[in-house]
């Protein structure tokens, strides 16, 4: 919470100015009813034209001042709220960008997205309510109470008596609403989940002629959702008529007690005073009702703030080593490297040792869950080995800046990452200063240029978020082009050819080997045919390096490799 509100500090000055102007505006609001009733009571009733004229002028001045100050105040509050939200979004986003992979895993990508979007929006919304009405509440409240006390103490006490009652009612209702809101939110999610599932599975559903069934599921979820929405809306709706009644009740009481006191001559309260107090009561009560609505929102804000707090309090990456202008030779050593995820009982990879020399073409093969991708994480410093070392040119990764290591690796990761922007933008990520001929060359090597040429706008073609308008194969080839243009000393392909047919893959890899001559290539794959022509093949199974060697050697001595080979080629040699 504290950290979030620290974001308000830069706006200190503007907050003071806004408060000042809003106070003046509220004072004008408080003055208007008095002037208005004065005009009627003393002007119209007594037919005093001079009095009417002066007070109309007064009223005009107060109105103009009120209008101008409120506009200036609003200008500042809008600016503060918009700025606060902007800073908050930036803070959360920047923080997530420095989080370690285990921190990200712990919270989960989906949850992080919600925190950076939905939760910051909730806080912003609440901040705007605060600045919109809440900051005028104390002024209205204090002003109203002060003015009414000046008129009559006892009658004003009635006013004070009703305030806790109103608050009690609101808090009671608020407590009831909170869980209802949560439940109705859950049901909205549920309906959306079923709908999303249905749209994604449209082919299977239609193949099994199950549309009616799916529709029934949605209809049922929608109906349940409606029931909960009704429940929470109705409880929320109770607040307004209830507080209105309490407000009116206090007015009635004031009139009655005022009359009684007048009759008994206990105090010198005048009819005009009673009337004025009634007006102040209305003002104060309205401000309290506004405050009440804000109180109902507080639990909402708290939930959002806590969730955001969890993000901002993450420790983040400890990459204090300065970046160095090193160029790796492509020599990689794994020295008894073991990696275990936090809380896992078994290590993901254990005791891995191998040596890759510059310019070697290395394949890593193994089934799902054999630990292949963990090796990639270790090489890219996404994760640090829990035991043992990963060494580049004799220097362990613990002594190198992550940035230095990553600058020396051209990689294509699983689930090819595409960014919104043009195709060109995506390729340029690998080498921001590349010229058009380099882009074209990279696309050609990646077997991607034919597709680009078929587009009307070629490399300037706009891609949707995460490249949703590309097929799996196109995304992979685009990611490969990005790695090729970077042309770092080490290439890593993590299952990057899986969506390509063999012909495309073979053409691509022939051209790639030409371009990457002398560079180290590491290919993680499930396909034995992708691996068999490598200089060295590392066979992974259950987090262990089972064997390594050339295709022919492995075929002779490694049982697991033989099995994989047989299953994929139907035994042909």
């Amino acid at each position: 919470m504290k950290k979030i509100f620290k974001n308000l500090l830069p706006y200190k000055g503007r907050i003071m100015v806004a408060l000042l102007f809003m106070t003046v505006a509220t004072v004008c609001d408080l003055m208007l009813p008095t002037i208005m009733s004065n005009i009627v009571d003393k002007g119209i009733h007594l037919s005093d034209m001079e009095y009417i004229k002066t007070n109309c002028l007064n009223m005009f001045i107060v109105s103009v001042v009120g209008l101008l100050t409120v506009l200036v105040g609003r200008k500042y509050t809008s600016e503060i709220v918009a700025g606060f939200c902007c800073d908050l979004r930036k803070m959360v986003f920047a923080k997530v960008n420095t989080m370690t992979f285990s921190e990200i895993n712990e919270i989960g990508t989906a949850a992080l997205i919600t925190r950076s979007t939905h939760d910051t929006e909730t806080l912003g919304w609440i901040a705007s309510i605060f600045c919109g009405s809440v900051i005028t509440i104390p002024v209205l409240f204090i002003g109203g109470v002060f003015l009414s006390f000046r008129k009559d103490v006892l009658l004003s006490l009635i006013l004070l008596l009703f305030i806790p009652i109103v608050f009690a009612v609101v808090i009671a209702v608020g407590r009831k609403i909170e869980p209802l809101w949560q439940i109705s939110d859950e049901y909205i999610d549920k309906q959306n989940d079923i709908m999303r599932e249905r749209l994604r599975g449209i082919r299977v559903i239609r193949a099994f002629d199950k549309e009616a069934h799916e529709h029934d599921r949605i209809a049922k979820a929608t109906k349940t959702m409606a029931e909960y929405i009704i429940k929470s809306n109705v409880s929320m709706g109770v607040i307004s008529p209830l507080t209105l009644f309490l407000l009116n009740l206090s007015v009635v009481l004031i009139v009655y007690i005022g009359a009684a006191r007048m009759e008994n001559g206990i105090s010198a309260v005048s009819a005009g005073d009673i009337f004025a107090i009634i007006q102040y009561v209305t003002l104060v009560m309205t401000s309290i009702m506004n405050a009440a609505f804000v109180i109902v929102m507080i639990p909402h804000a708290k939930v959002a703030a806590n969730r955001i707090g969890e993000v901002i309090s993450a420790e983040g990456i400890d990459d204090k080593i300065p970046e160095e202008p090193l160029e790796f030779s492509g020599d990689i050593v794994f020295d008894h490297a073991t990696f275990k995820y936090d809380g896992a009982t078994e290590p993901a990879v254990s005791d891995i040792s191998f040596h890759i020399t510059p310019g070697q073409k290395v394949s890593v093969i193994g089934g799902t869950g054999s630990g292949k991708s963990t090796l990639v994480s270790l090489m890219l410093c996404f994760r640090m080995p829990t035991e043992g070392r990963v060494i580049y040119d004799g220097r362990p990764t613990t002594e190198l800046s992550h940035k230095t290591v990553r600058r020396n690796i051209s990689c294509v990761l699983q689930n090819s990452s595409i960014y919104s922007g043009t195709i060109k933008d995506n390729i340029l990520m690998g080498k921001p200063d590349a010229d058009n001929s380099e882009i074209l060359e990279a696309a050609e090597i990646a077997e991607f240029s034919d597709f680009v040429k078929s587009l009307d706008d070629g490399f300037e073609h706009e891609l949707n978020q995460s490249g949703k308008n590309l097929s799996g194969g196109q995304k992979q080839r685009l990611s490969i082009a990005r790695a090729i243009i970077k042309n770092a000393p080490i290439y890593i392909f993590d299952d990057s050819f899986s969506a390509l047919d063999f012909l495309t893959e073979s053409k691509l890899r022939t051209k790639l080997s030409e371009k990457a001559k002398g560079k180290t290539q590491i290919i993680i794959t499930q396909r034995v045919t992708s691996a068999m022509n490598s200089d060295v093949i590392l066979v992974m199974d259950n987090g262990k390096l089972v064997d390594s060697g050339k295709h022919s050697e492995l075929l002779e001595r490694c049982k697991i490799y033989r099995e994989i080979y047989a299953s994929q080629t139907g035994g042909a040699k």
Binding site: M36, V40, G43, I44, S47, M59, S63, L71, A82, C86, R89, F93, V96, I104, T109, D193, M195, R196, E197, L199, R203, V204, A207, F208, D209, K210, H215, T222, E227, I230, V234, S240, P241, F245, N248, L249, V255, Y256, M262, E263, I274, F275, T368, K403, R406, P432, Q465, S466, K468, Q474, K486, E505, R509, Q526, T529, S530, M532, N533, S567, T569
Partner: protein, 590 residues
């Protein structure tokens, strides 16, 4: 893609009103309750005024009575009752509107959207982002519901109040009324102008916020690549750029919209001043009674509240109109036309023929040109070819997910374009690369194509698909709840479940589109037997990258650029040394 027709506001409102037909009666009742509450709101100040007048008179000594407290009490009790009634009526109306609108209006529209999806072509779902449809179904429909609340509670009461006040005022003195009423349209006009101005920035704000959210989503899902390319600074820069644009739009939007209320208050103050000045002059020069002027002045004061209400209500309605346009655009989409011919009572054998079929997803880029195929029942057909050659398109056409633009596809001589889609699809069993499981138990998922299957049948199917063992290791075995995003089973295991599903459903024709692509190669050997069993005696269409799985096919179709370039058995094709030969050898050439 859904494109909205820009309609006039009145038309859109009329349509919302028409859609609310089932609840017209309730809405009328609600309007009546509103009317009651208006009566109470108009009467109560009058009563309070009378009481205060009594106080004034008593204080000034104009009123002499023994039982002043009793008099006040007899005036106060009815007032308290009116106040109570006012709150009760509002409570009832709130309860009524919430129930009726949520249960019979928004809920119905949502169900109709779901119903609509049933009748839309697969093409629509393929081309429309899921988020788009969901947003229409939830947020947009909610806005429409809110608009009904607003129109009844705020706008109708607001307008009615103004109407009542206007009429009463005219009876008192028309000249003063005119002074008040000149101001009214000015302030309504002013507020709607300001709202329209802010609308533009609100729109900008929502657009930027959408973009910002995409950046966030994208950076988090692509986290590893962003790091690997040292791209963090660039990501931050892009985020910041849009973030600042959003801030500026938000600032302008909130500032302008917050100006509405003060402007109305100000114009009302002007009206008040005008009435008083004019009133004073009329009293002095025309001899109009003080009472009349006081009444009108009080009304002039009262007219402010409904005006402010209307100004706020208009914003809501504006939003509802935009939302309703989006919802109606979805509801009005053209539906797939239904074909009701049937294969007849004869059991379908499964002879499949493509005759001169042309097809393209995008008119400007023809994909399949003049495709001819003749497949006899029981044949096992493999379709091979490079990525993007149109292999999956053949599946789309066979299952009638898409219809060919010209030419025809027949099964046992019947043109499938004339037969109901349900019946055509009912012939096929399907295992796709993109596995799909719904949120439910393992057993329910397997029995999806055969809901009346017994547990024993389910277990047999799983046993054959080699997934019985792993299902038993799940926490609740066959009753474990899984879903599309389940993480406790792997992609390969999901695929095994879909194979078991197809085995259990046992259809005449079978489509296997990369059916074992996620399965570990060693497991694949194990399930090969299950696959053989699944395929036995059926007409099968098999699409596979791994050529090892198709060498035994009865017929291999080699597709390139939407055309069949070669057909034949594995050995024949290899002997031809053509395109197939090239593909086949490429897998060893890497």
């Amino acid at each position: 893609m859904i494109t909205e027709k820009k309609q006039s506001r009145a038309k859109a409102l009329l349509r919302i009103f028409k859609e609310a037909k089932p609840i017209w009666g309730w809405l009328a009742l609600s309007c009546f309750l509103c009317l009651l509450s208006i009566v109470f709101t108009v009467v109560s100040p009058k009563m309070l005024g009378n009481l205060v007048q009594l106080l004034y008179d008593f204080w000034a000594g104009d009123l002499v009575t023994d039982d002043f407290a009793g008099m006040i009490l007899s005036g106060i009790i009815p007032l308290a009752v009116i106040y109570l009634l006012l709150s009760l009526v509002r409570l009832c109306n709130m309860y009524l509107l919430n129930n009726v609108v949520s249960r019979y209006f928004t809920c119905n529209i949502r169900i109709r959207i779901s119903e609509k999806i049933k009748h839309l072509p697969v093409k629509f779902v393929d081309c429309t982002p899921v988020g788009e449809i969901l947003r229409r179904m939830t947020d947009d429909v909610s806005h429409m519901g809110t608009s009904i609340h607003t129109m009844i509670e705020t706008l109708s009461t607001g307008f009615l109040q103004i109407l009542v006040i206007t009429v009463v005022m005219f009876f008192e003195d028309w000249r003063l009324s005119v002074a008040v009423l000149v101001i009214t349209p000015i302030s309504v006009y002013l507020s709607s102008k300001i709202s329209a101005m802010s609308e533009k920035y609100f729109h900008e704000m929502f657009t930027e916020s959408g973009k910002l959210n995409s950046i966030v989503e994208e950076s988090y899902t692509n986290y590893a690549t962003t790091k690997a390319y040292n791209w963090e600074t660039e990501t931050l820069r892009r985020h910041e750029e849009i973030n600042i644009r959003q801030r500026n739009a938000e600032y302008k939007a909130t500032f302008i919209s917050s100006a509405v209320r003060p402007c109305i208050t100000f114009t009302n103050s002007l009206a008040y001043i005008a009435v008083n000045l004019l009133g004073g002059w009329l009293i002095l020069n025309e001899g109009v009674s003080v009472g009349t002027i006081v009444t009108i002045v009080l009304f002039a004061k009262q007219i402010a509240a409904p005006l402010e209400q209307i100004a706020e209500g208009l914003g809501d309605v504006q939003r509802a109109i935009t939302s309703s346009e989006r919802v109606f655009a979805l509801l009005d989409l053209e539906e797939e036309k239904t074909d009701d011919k049937s294969f007849g009572n004869e059991p379908v054998l499964g002879d499949v023929k493509f005759e001169n079929v042309d097809f393209s997803y995008d008119e400007s880029k023809p994909l399949i040109k003049d495709l001819n195929l003749d497949i006899k029942h029981g044949q096992n057909v493999a379709i091979v070819g490079p990525t993007g050659a149109g292999k999956t398109t053949i599946v789309n056409l066979l299952m009638r997910f898409y219809d060919s633009q010209s030419g025809k596809i027949t099964i046992d001589g019947h043109d499938i374009a004339e037969i109901s889609r349900e019946e055509v699809r009912g012939l096929f069993g399907m295992v796709l690369q993109d596995t799909w499981l719904f949120g439910g138990t393992v057993a329910e998922n397997i029995a999806y194509g055969k809901p009346d299957a017994t547990r024993a049948e389910i277990i047999t199917a799983c046993d054959e698909a080699y997934c019985d063992h792993f299902i038993r290791t799940l926490p609740q075995g066959y009753d474990t709840v899984i879903g599309d995003d389940t993480t406790n089973i792997s992609g390969g295991q999901k695929q095994l479940l879909t194979i078991a599903r197809a085995l259990l459903a046992n259809h005449r024709l079978l489509i296997l589109d990369e059916a074992t692509s996620n399965v570990d190669t060693r497991t694949e050997i194990l399930i090969q037997k299950a696959m053989d069993k699944l395929m036995a005696g059926k007409t099968c269409f098999v699409i596979a990258h791994r050529l090892s799985t198709i060498v035994d096919s009865d017929l291999i179709l080699v597709i390139n650029d939407g055309k069949i370039v070669e057909t034949g058995r594995h050995d024949e094709l290899l002997a031809q040394k053509g395109f197939y030969y090239e593909i086949y050898n490429s897998q060893y050439a890497v």
